[in-house]
C-alpha cells in the first residue's frame, strides 16, 4: 500500500498532529541520532550523503523515540533487550534490572581477574557488554522449525531464519529461562547474570535449548522439501 501511495505523496500535515506515534506517513524520514554524522565537514561528504542532506532540508522527520540517544554508550541490541524485558510499559524497572545485571557480571569477572594468576589474567573477559553480545551470539539458533500443513497433517519443517528472528528467539529464550526455571527467591539481575555468564562459556539451559532445536531440525531433514519459499 505504501508503494502505491508514494506517487501521490505531497508534503501535507494532518489536522491532528501525531507525536510519539509509530505509524507515520511514509513521506517522513528517520531521525539520525549519532553525533559523528553531523561533524563531517562539507568537503568530505560522499554524493549520497549530500543528497541525503538536501532531502532532509525539505522533508519532515519523524520524532525520535525516548530510548534513542546520541550518547556514545547507546546500544541498540541492549535497548531491544530492555524492551523485551519490560512489563506494562515500565521501562525504568527493566532498565534498572539490566544495569544491575551488567554491574553484577562485571563485579564477578573483575573479582576473578584480580584473584587470577598472572598468566590467566588476559583470558578473563571483564567487559559486560562484550559478554552480553557474545552470550547472545552463542544462544542464537542457526535454523528454525515451522509448522507446515501437508495432506491433513502438520509437519515440523526446518527453515532458515532471518537475523532479526534469530536475535528475537535468543533474547526470548534467555528471558523466559530466567523467569521460569530458577529459584523463586533469587532476584532477576542475579538470575540473568548467572545465565549470561553460562551462555558466554557455552553452558547453561539456553544454549542447551538451542542445541535441542538444532537436533530436531536435523532429525526432520526429510521434510525440508515441504518448504516452498
Amino acid at each position: 500500500m505504501a508503494a502505491s501511495l508514494t506517487g501521490l505523496l505531497k508534503p501535507w500535515t494532518p489536522r491532528v498532529l501525531l507525536v510519539r506515534w509509530s505509524r507515520y506517513n511514509p513521506y517522513y524520514l528517520e531521525p539520525e541520532p549519532r553525533k559523528e554524522v553531523y561533524h563531517i565537514p562539507e568537503t568530505e561528504l560522499t554524493p549520497e550523503q549530500k543528497e541525503e542532506r538536501e532531502l532532509k532540508s525539505v522533508r519532515p522527520i519523524k520524532a525520535a523515540t525516548n530510548s534513542v540517544t546520541s550518547s556514545v554508550f547507546n546500544d541498540p541490541v541492549l535497548s531491544k533487550f530492555v524492551n523485551m524485558m519490560m512489563k506494562d510499559g515500565d521501562k525504568i524497572i527493566a532498565k534498572g534490572i539490566i544495569t544491575q545485571t551488567l554491574e553484577n557480571m562485571k563485579r564477578k569477572q573483575v573479582e576473578k581477574y584480580h584473584k587470577a594468576p598472572e598468566g590467566k589474567k588476559a583470558e578473563t573477559e571483564c567487559n559486560p557488554y562484550a559478554i552480553f553480545h557474545q552470550a547472545l551470539e552463542n544462544c542464537k539458533p542457526v535454523i528454525g522449525l515451522a509448522s507446515i500443513q501437508k495432506g491433513g497433517k502438520f509437519y515440523q519443517v526446518p527453515i532458515p531464519l532471518t537475523d532479526d528472528r534469530r536475535r528475537f528467539l535468543a533474547m526470548k529464550w534467555m528471558i523466559t529461562e530466567c523467569r521460569d526455571n530458577k529459584h523463586r527467591r533469587t532476584l532477576m539481575y542475579e538470575k540473568l547474570s548467572q545465565e549470561l555468564l553460562a551462555a558466554f562459556s557455552k553452558e547453561g539451559n539456553v544454549v542447551k535449548r538451542k542445541h535441542e532445536l538444532h537436533k530436531m531440525a536435523e532429525s526432520n531433514r526429510a521434510y525440508a522439501h515441504y518448504r516452498w519459499w
Partner: protein, 357 residues
C-alpha cells in the same frame, strides 16, 4: 597528568599529608575488620570486595578535619565538627577517613554508623528499667556494643570503671573492673544493653581528659540529625515516641554536649536516612531543626563539595587502573566528557554510572 604514571595511589601514602590531595591512599586490609566493622557505606564495601583492596581518596574536608584535630587543645571543652553537603558528596567517606586517622593515632573511637537506625524500624521497644518514661532498644544496643568491642579491643582492659553499676538484684559491676567486662555483660544480657551503653558513654566521658589514664576520645556520629527530630516508632497506644524518650538517643545527646574535655566530636548530616525531611535539604539549619541546631551550637562546619576537576581525574584514572571502566567508549575523551556531564562530578552518582559502564 601523565598517563601510565602510577602516581595516583600507593601504599606508602599516609592519609594525612596536604600534598597528596586528590590521590588515593590504601587502608591496610587488617584495619578493615578492626576499625570499620560497621561504619562504611554499603556500596564502598562492595567495591572493596571487588577490587580486593580499600583505597580512599584524600580530599580537602578530611584534611581540614585532621589538621584541626592535630592542633586542638585537649584540655579545653570538646570541639564539635559538622560535615555537611549535598547528597552523595562524600560526607560518610570523609568521616571514615578521619576515624581511620584517629585510630592510627591511638585514639579511642566511638563510631555510631547511622543515628537514624536508632529512631526507626525498631522491632522490640522495651520500657526502660532505669527510668520509667524511657524506652530501651535491646537489639540495636547489643549490635553496637559488639562492634564497639571489635573496634577498641586494646582499650577495654586498660580503662577501669569508677562507679558501681547495679543491673538487677543479683548482678552488678563493681568499681575498678575493666571496661571489657561491662561491654561483655551488655552483649550477653540483651535486656539491659541500652543501660550498659549509657554507662559506657558516661565512663568514657569522665575518663577521657584524665591525666593518669590519658586517652583521647573521638565520637564519630553519622546522620546526627536523626537525634533531634521525629521518630517513626510508636508506643503501644499508638502515640508517637519522641527521640528524648529513647535511652540510646538520650545518652548520645549527653555525649555530643561539649561539657567534657579530652576529645572531639565529628558528626555528619545525612538526608538519605532521615525522617520527615525534604530530599533537597542539606544545610545544617534545615536538617538539624531548631532544637538540634541549638544543642550543636557552637560547632565548626566543614562543607563537603563535589569532586573538583583534579579529583575527578584521579577517580577516573583509579577506575581505569582497577579495570572497572570496561566499556570501550568510556575510555575515550568523549566518554569522559559524557561522564562529567551525566554525573555533574557527584562522587556517588559517578560511582553508580561507572558500575555498569
Amino acid at each position: 597528568i601523565l598517563k601510565g604514571q602510577r602516581y595516583i595511589y600507593s601504599t606508602r601514602l599516609s592519609g594525612d599529608s596536604e600534598q597528596h590531595q586528590g590521590q588515593y591512599y590504601t587502608v591496610p586490609p587488617s584495619h578493615f575488620h578492626t576499625v570499620f566493622p560497621h561504619g562504611l557505606p554499603p556500596r564502598y564495601q562492595q567495591q572493596v570486595k571487588t577490587f580486593n583492596e580499600g583505597c580512599v581518596m584524600v580530599r580537602q574536608p578530611a584534611l581540614e578535619l585532621i589538621s584541626h584535630l592535630k592542633r586542638a587543645d585537649y584540655s579545653k571543652p570538646t570541639l564539635r565538627y559538622l560535615l555537611y553537603g549535598v547528597k552523595g558528596s562524600g560526607k560518610t567517606m570523609s568521616l571514615c577517613h578521619t576515624v581511620h586517622y584517629c585510630s592510627t593515632q591511638g585514639w579511642l573511637v566511638l563510631h555510631i554508623p547511622d543515628a537514624h537506625l536508632w529512631v526507626k524500624n525498631c522491632k522490640e521497644l522495651l520500657p526502660s528499667s532505669y527510668h520509667a518514661s524511657r524506652f530501651d532498644q535491646p537489639i540495636q544496643a547489643s549490635n553496637w556494643l559488639r562492634n564497639f568491642r571489635t573496634t577498641n579491643e586494646n582499650f577495654l582492659s586498660k580503662i577501669k570503671l569508677r562507679q558501681r553499676y547495679v543491673w538487677t538484684k543479683r548482678e552488678s559491676t563493681e568499681e575498678g573492673q575493666p571496661l571489657g567486662e561491662l561491654v561483655d555483660m551488655g552483649v550477653s544480657r540483651v535486656k539491659s544493653s541500652s543501660d550498659v551503653v549509657g554507662a559506657v558513654l558516661k565512663e568514657l566521658r569522665l575518663q577521657a581528659g584524665g591525666t593518669e589514664g590519658g586517652f583521647r576520645l573521638a565520637v564519630a556520629v553519622d546522620g546526627v540529625n536523626g537525634l533531634w527530630g521525629r521518630t517513626t516508632l510508636k508506643k503501644e497506644d499508638k502515640s508517637p515516641v519522641a527521640p528524648e524518650e529513647l535511652t540510646l538517643v538520650h545518652n548520645l545527646r549527653k555525649m555530643i554536649n561539649n561539657d567534657w574535655c579530652g576529645g572531639a566530636v565529628i558528626a555528619t548530616l545525612s538526608q538519605t536516612g532521615s525522617l520527615y525531611a525534604p530530599s533537597s535539604a542539606y544545610l545544617p539549619q534545615e536538617l538539624l531543626g531548631e532544637e538540634g541546631f541549638d544543642s550543636m551550637d557552637p560547632f565548626i562546619p566543614v562543607p563537603v563539595s563535589l569532586y573538583s576537576e583534579k579529583e575527578f581525574e584521579s577517580c577516573y584514572l583509579y577506575y581505569l587502573d582497577r579495570h572497572w571502566l570496561q566499556h570501550p567508549h568510556s575510555q575515550t575523551e568523549e566518554g569522559k566528557k559524557e561522564l562529567i556531564f551525566l554525573s555533574n562530578r557527584n562522587p556517588s552518582v559517578l560511582e553508580r554510572l561507572c558500575a555498569f559502564l
